[in-house]
């Protein structure tokens, strides 16, 4: 019981992923600054932002909105992110949970933040927020299918095991999944799904600052917005870790392995950051076509390749 609480609240749960996610968010902003030849924010900037919003600022509840739903949505998004991170990190750190089928549960838990953003935005009663919510809904519908196809392909590749621990162990030291042709194709699809799940630039139409002024989050202020920021930090760590578990044989925390683990996470976040800095925002119809036609096509090609043993 005490051990479970430790898992959920401290390591590898809430506290660990929040701190690591904050540092990764700094990494993302610093790389962005370097790409644009700027100097960038200080190291602890994400934590300053979070504590300022949480402790200093006033939380305003919109007059026309639904009060309880509006305030509970960020709390639930934080729950969803934390629980999914625990389920991902336990197998990743080599702790066997004895939970078969957790890949499917993780898949559902990872959609909870997006769903709660939609609910919170619709509860705020702001027209811009509802535009943002409708865009987020369309985006969820389009990328979830591709993400599910990636998971199905990996399950087939690892001899039909649906537990994350077995998927990690099915990859031998010499042949991680990313080392094969189908693995590379699936990795590309997964990276674009991550980009859309995190709401980074080519797919950030749900919170487009310049056209609908932060869309879904327009009415959030103070502590409620702080929780949303924290969820974003956690997702920025959890999703790359999930990709590393699925494609790169997880991580190994002995000796030099720690360095490799950090490098793997930084490499995945670096890819996401570079994509976000070199692309303009696309329209929602373009994003839907991109996922429905091209990404699904790539994922299906990868599945066919897996059947032929590539």
């Amino acid at each position: 019981m005490l051990k479970d609480l430790f898992y959920y609240l401290i390591y590898p749960g809430f506290l660990f992923v929040a701190v690591a996610g904050g540092l990764l968010s700094f990494f993302d902003r610093k790389i962005t600054a370097w790409v644009q030849f700027r100097k960038g924010p200080p190291l602890l900037q994400p934590f300053y932002d979070f504590f300022k919003l949480l402790l200093v600022k006033e939380t305003i509840i919109p007059a026309k909105g639904s009060r309880i739903t509006f305030l509970l949505a960020p709390v639930f998004s934080l729950f969803g992110a934390t629980v999914s991170s625990v389920l991902i990190f336990l197998p990743l750190l080599g702790i066997k949970t004895g939970f078969t089928g957790d890949v499917i549960v993780i898949f559902y838990l990872l959609t909870i933040p997006s769903l709660t953003y939609i609910i919170g935005a619709l509860a705020s009663g702001n027209p811009f927020a509802s535009v943002g919510a409708s865009r987020e809904m369309k985006l969820v519908v389009s990328y979830e299918l591709s993400f599910l196809l990636v998971l199905i392909a990996l399950i087939i590749k690892s001899d039909m095991s649906i537990s994350l621990y077995d998927i990690i162990n099915a990859q031998q030291p010499a042949n991680a999944f990313i080392g094969s042709i189908s693995g590379v194709i699936l990795f590309i699809v997964a990276i674009f799904c991550l980009q859309a799940k995190l709401g980074l630039v080519p797919f950030d139409m749900a919170e487009a600052e310049t056209e609908i002024t932060h869309g879904s989050f327009i009415e959030y202020s103070g502590s409620a917005y702080a929780l949303i920021k924290l969820t974003k930090y956690i997702m920025l760590f959890t999703l790359p870790a999930f990709i590393i578990a699925l494609f790169m044989r997880g991580i190994n925390l002995e000796g030099i392995g720690i360095l490799w683990a950090i490098l793997k996470v930084l490499a995945v976040v670096l890819i996401l950051t570079l994509i976000r800095n070199t692309n303009p925002r696309v329209r929602i119809s373009q994003a839907m076509r991109f996922f429905f036609v091209w990404m699904n096509l790539l994922a299906i090609i990868a599945i066919v390749l897996i059947f032929f043993g590539y």
Binding site: R29, A33, Q36, F37, R38, K39, G40, P41, P42, L43, L44, Q45, F47, Y48, D49, F51, K52, L55, V56, K57, E58, T59, I60, E209, T210, T213, H214, F217, I218, E219, Y220, S221, G222, Y225
Partner: protein, 158 residues
């Protein structure tokens, strides 16, 4: 030595501990992370351009932890520039009332501070500080980005 120089560096600067002790945790976080919201009144557009200049690589206000936000609900600083005429006045008041407190108001440019060349126009509705309380004035027509940064640093080390 000028204490405000510490704001140019990373969190490793030597004033970090000093400031932290002086300000307390909440105030320290607030000053290290200001989100800016830009309200352009009836401006001649020069001040808007100079404000945007501060975000460009050459001046880069993100190293102070500042960031331009699109929604006033996230804002900590309200940058007001341009003369405020009769149509702008209710909108400025509404924006100010919608912002979560504490909020810092900065009047930028001669128009924001006093009315500038529009002060005697027949639609003019008073400089910004007649409408909402102002914390800092940055004069100039338009103020250089350096002047805006200097004003911000002064505000931070107040």
């Amino acid at each position: 030595m000028d204490e405000s120089a510490g704001y140019y560096c990373d969190c490793f600067d030597i004033f970090w501990v000093l400031k932290f002790k002086k300000l307390g945790f909440k105030e320290f976080c607030f000053k290290k992370s200001l989100f800016l919201f830009h309200f352009g009144g009836a401006s001649c557009n020069n001040c808007d351009i100079e404000i945007l200049d501060c975000l460009t690589p050459r001046y880069d206000v993100e190293r102070f932890g500042m960031q331009l936000v699109g929604s006033v609900r996230h804002a900590d600083v309200l940058l007001v520039n341009g003369s405020i005429n009769k149509k702008d006045k209710p909108r400025l008041l509404e924006i100010y009332n919608q912002a979560p407190k504490p909020i810092i108001v900065v009047a930028i440019g001669a128009c924001g501070c006093t009315g500038g060349i529009f002060a005697e126009g027949n639609t003019f509705a008073g400089p910004v500080d007649k409408i909402i309380p102002v914390d800092a004035y940055i004069p100039g027509c338009p103020p250089k980005p350096e002047a805006i940064l200097a004003g911000i640093v002064k505000l931070l080390s107040k």
